[in-house]
Symmetry: C2
Subunit: 337 residues, 2 copies
């Protein structure tokens, strides 16, 4: 398919669309439900409540160290389901392609989506493709929506955090955000940086299995970073959050790039990390469980919920100071995910 | 909010995003599930199989006689669910906004989405907004994904059509497609033309309730029109389809515009029509049921499934001729939906 491009015809719903579907989508993403190619996929009856989520991905560049827009779209939506304690069941795939996009690039992305689906065990069961004229889009935008199943007794919500609960972060901050930013800025250190894009549903399943009832809140700190997500947890639970600055994990190369660009890792997007609020008597256990997994090998306890000003996040600095961590305002660079 | 515009900041995930969410989305689309603003919506356990579908909308212009991109996005996804015999349960809303889009236009679209949801009884329960820089999108692209519930015993599929089954069309052809095309071409007769965008789930529910087991296939002939959809039904059922040309309903003003532009109504997109394949002994009843509804008041029998060449659609012309109706190849004009 080299040197071939996406044409407006590929979005017509006619023969060119069908060719794209069979030569690319069915070829790589095949499964019995998708193969039906009906107006909707029909899935078996599910034994539990349903989780439902949607996310559009407009990241620029579409290929970056550690991943690409396709992998991000699969992992991101799986993670949004997992953050309610749901077992992800299936995804939809909505593509908006720009006329002139190389078919090779599209195939590379579809193959990456297929790999991410296989590795995660979560299939694409329904899809849609539109094409916009050159200059009216930017190569490819992807929407993935997803359905998950929430087992009985599971109740994970950012409202559920209680006073005294401990906050864990499953790994280092800012890897995805800084990778995209340095790549866009063309900064040389980019070779050492890599997106952390990763599915977190297995880590979540393990936490919920081993610590039923003790996990109150799960959130993945994507856009707006750990700082913004913690502010949302504090606001929704009507509690304060206290962080220990020295416990906030950042890779040295991420810290170096942040210093160069004048950025704060607390506000950078992560695509393979979660924040967990856990009952204090089970926090050490939760930490051990996380550290036994590949996804959470670098997990740390970063703070606690306390009866401070509702919705306020404060940080204890190593020199004994205290500063308020506000939510993100002012986008440092758009199109991070 | 007049004269205000979408900024990159509105897609940051930070304060500007939250302001947009509360001042627009929650204000107009509010319901208890959406209000949670968690990573996923959590829905009650459902009593039946699930239907799941996704569609992105890139129509240009975004406002047109009879509707707008928002209404289209709600109706289109509801209809895709209904075409598998599902009762639509809820929708997701994924927006990709272009920097500089007037906030007034966005609010007008969100209000239209809210009205369409209210009228259809199908809420938006989860959403996502991204912003791309000016020139990297085109005002607004919308993805709506949807979940529906398929009651036990319902099995609607384009594979299920049988020899001798009768094909009904719920109304006139081409209204949506020609409305968009004439508007884009700036043709004067546009005043008389109007999109047929409409939710069809209530019409489907009535057909399935009154004729259980006799409705084999339901499809909404959107992109590619009635001709392309019938070709898909013929291919999936491994049968031929025979149409009576004089029975194909087209409004006079649509026909006039088609003649002017050299277009064939059979290939034009519809956004509020369905094709139903029904057992021959219940076809007249199905027609009566359709005609009793607002959605199907102009329904007609247009043809039948026959043991001809598998996958081939032929048309009997009034002068006794026969011609083959191929699927669409070559997009007459992109971004119809």
């Amino acid at each position: 398919m080299s040197e071939k491009c996406i044409l407006l015809d590929h979005g017509s719903g006619g023969l060119a669309s069908q060719e794209l579907i069979s030569s690319l989508f069915i070829k790589h993403l095949d499964n019995p439900t998708l193969r039906g190619l009906e107006d909707s996929a029909v899935l078996d009856r599910q034994n539990g409540r349903l989780a439902f989520t949607t996310d559009s991905y407009v990241v620029d560049p579409i290929f970056f160290p550690g991943g690409d827009i396709g992998k991000l779209a699969v992992h991101g939506t799986i993670n949004d389901l997992a953050m309610r304690g749901a077992q992800p069941l299936c995804l939809s795939l909505g593509l908006i392609l720009e006329e002139g996009m190389p078919l090779d690039d599209l195939e590379r992305i579809i193959i990456s989506i297929a790999e991410a689906c296989r590795e995660s065990g979560v299939p694409i069961v329904t899809g849609d493709t539109k094409v916009v004229p050159k200059g009216k889009g930017d190569k490819i935008f992807i929407n993935t929506s997803g359905i998950g199943v929430v087992a009985d007794g599971i109740d994970i919500s950012s409202k559920n955090a209680r006073e005294g609960d401990i906050i864990l972060l499953s790994g280092t901050m800012g890897d995805h955000g800084i990778t995209i930013m340095t790549r866009r800025a063309g900064i040389a250190m980019q070779g050492q940086l890599e997106s952390d894009t990763m599915p977190l549903h297995r880590l979540v399943a393990r936490l919920l299995k081993e610590l039923p009832g003790s996990v109150r809140t799960l959130r993945d700190p994507t856009r707006g970073g750990v700082a913004t997500t913690l502010n949302e947890i504090a606001a929704n639970s009507q509690l304060g959050i206290e962080l220990r600055e020295e416990s906030l994990p950042v890779r040295p190369q991420v810290r170096a790039a942040c210093e160069l660009l004048g950025l704060e890792p607390l506000y950078l997007a992560n695509e393979g990390k979660l924040l967990a609020v856990v009952a204090s008597d089970r926090a050490e256990e939760a930490l051990q469980i996380m550290r036994e997994t590949a996804e959470g090998a670098e997990a740390t306890i970063i703070g606690r919920m306390f009866n401070g000003k509702a919705g306020r996040v404060v940080i204890n600095t190593p020199v004994g100071g205290l500063r308020v961590v506000t939510p993100l305002h002012g986008e440092p660079l758009p199109r991070i995910c």
